[in-house]
């Protein structure tokens, strides 16, 4: 992911080749996120496609002070995936009322050769992964449900069968630790 700043500048200059470079670099990561959240490969690909479309059409809104191109792309992608999950939940509850429900899950295929050479940014993944696995089980589970499955506090409380106050405490403790653990990569420019 070297040269992200220049990628942003080139995208701003409507350089289509910069777009293909960004797509090549970021797609495996974005698909990892969306497939993990949505468990549906086709829908995950649609979300990634939408995210790149937003970046291309709104590149003039990129604010380097907000963390750069890739963090923006990650945020857009996650937000779109959460929108899909919540829309799916609404459909599901509607279908449940009709008495018919199917939700096929799909296996996520991890990258064949996970390393920095094949996937630029791999060391960021390792830092984040280590920060997540360093959390106590109950806090990690709360983060997984809140951040990677897009559940609200009340939905997590219902899912885990615990009071909402406990959910909030677990998440507050977990995110405090994550913020400290991720401080080393906060300003990293890919």
């Amino acid at each position: 992911m070297a040269g992200e700043r220049s990628l942003g500048a080139r995208l701003l200059a409507r350089d289509e080749r910069a777009l293909t470079e960004l797509i090549e670099i970021a797609t495996p990561w974005l698909l990892g996120i969306t497939q993990s959240m949505l468990s549906d490969r086709d829908e995950a690909e649609e979300v990634v496609q939408e995210a790149f479309g937003i970046i291309w059409n709104r590149i003039h809104l990129l604010d380097p002070a907000q963390g750069g191109l890739i963090p923006w792309l990650l945020r857009i992608t996650r937000n779109r995936a959460i929108d899909r999950l919540r829309a799916r939940k609404r459909r599901r509850s509607h279908l449940e009322r009709l008495g018919s429900l199917t939700s096929p899950a799909e296996t996520v295929t991890p990258a064949a050769e996970p390393n920095e050479a094949v996937h630029p940014g791999w060391h960021v993944h390792e830092t984040v992964h280590a920060a997540l696995t360093g959390l106590p089980d109950d806090q990690r589970e709360a983060v997984r449900l809140a951040y990677f499955e897009g559940l609200t506090h009340s939905e997590i409380a219902e899912r885990l069968g615990i009071p909402m106050g406990t959910v909030k405490t677990r998440l507050r403790l977990a995110f405090d630790k994550l913020r400290i653990a991720l401080a080393t990569i906060k300003d990293w420019v890919v």
Partner: protein, 248 residues
């Protein structure tokens, strides 16, 4: 409780979108008039910016990156075709499934369907890879060709350059196996020098096909070359024998 205390305690939940819908609305309205919270939210977003990368990357299906480029740049033809194909496939599957058979037979069919779906998935991936290859050839805005001789064999380098998706499909044929400690190296020729592309693996059964994007950095690509290089020497300029040299 101090009313502002609630917002302070729920900043992280706002950033991670864990609040209920009405709470999100309340928080957004508060943000419009609270500089302190806006600054805190901005800091939190930066601190957690890389958290999504806790999920490992996955292998991208053949053709997806091309579809994304075409979609973003406003050419939806391939996506439409794919959607149509999927719709037809789904209709056929539905027709088969709804065929008047009993429950026992249906279970057996389900097993067969799983096997067929797996085979179809493999074929779909192959088809997507082929479609991806052909798309570059079909959409090529430049086609370049060079011949060479290697160990008394006639060989050639053929480049289909697609300016729309900024990718090349490179075909190399007639290459004998590389000598010991040697590799066939593909180079991009840029205005300021040469940039290493892929290492070409000769295929004894036929031509070698390679799909490649332009080198990173945005330098203007003016041509390409194929050379024989020492295996472990990563020089920035070719050192070995030049087999082919093409200028756009």
């Amino acid at each position: 409780m101090n009313p502002h205390r609630w917002f302070e305690e729920h900043r992280t939940a706002y950033v991670t979108r864990s609040l209920e819908r009405d709470e999100m609305t309340t928080f957004s309205e508060h943000l419009a008039g609270c500089a302190e919270c806006r600054e805190a939210i901005r800091t939190l977003e930066q601190e957690l910016a890389w958290l999504p990368m806790g999920v490992a990357p996955v292998t991208v299906r053949p053709g997806l990156q091309r579809r994304i480029v075409e979609h973003v740049l406003g050419n939806n033809q391939w996506r439409w075709n794919r959607m149509t194909t999927l719709a037809v496939a789904a209709s056929l599957l539905l027709a088969i499934l709804t065929y008047g058979i009993g429950r026992q037979q249906l279970r057996s069919l389900d097993r067969e369907r799983a096997v067929l779906a797996q085979q179809a998935s493999i074929r779909q991936n192959r088809l997507a890879a082929l479609e991806d290859t052909v798309s570059v050839m079909r959409g090529a805005t430049r086609i370049l060709q060079a011949s060479f001789q290697m160990e008394n064999r006639d060989g050639g380098l053929l480049i289909f350059a697609d300016a729309r998706t900024h990718r090349w499909n490179v075909v190399v044929h007639g290459l004998p196996p590389a000598g010991p400690d040697q590799v066939y190296q593909f180079w991009f020729i840029e205005k300021d020098g040469m940039v290493r592309g892929a290492v070409v693996q000769p295929d004894s059964a036929g031509p070698t096909f390679m799909m490649m994007g332009m080198p990173p950095g945005g330098g203007e690509v003016m041509g390409a070359a194929l050379t024989v290089e020492p295996m472990d020497r990563q020089t920035t300029e070719p050192q070995g024998k030049m087999l082919a040299h093409l200028m756009l």
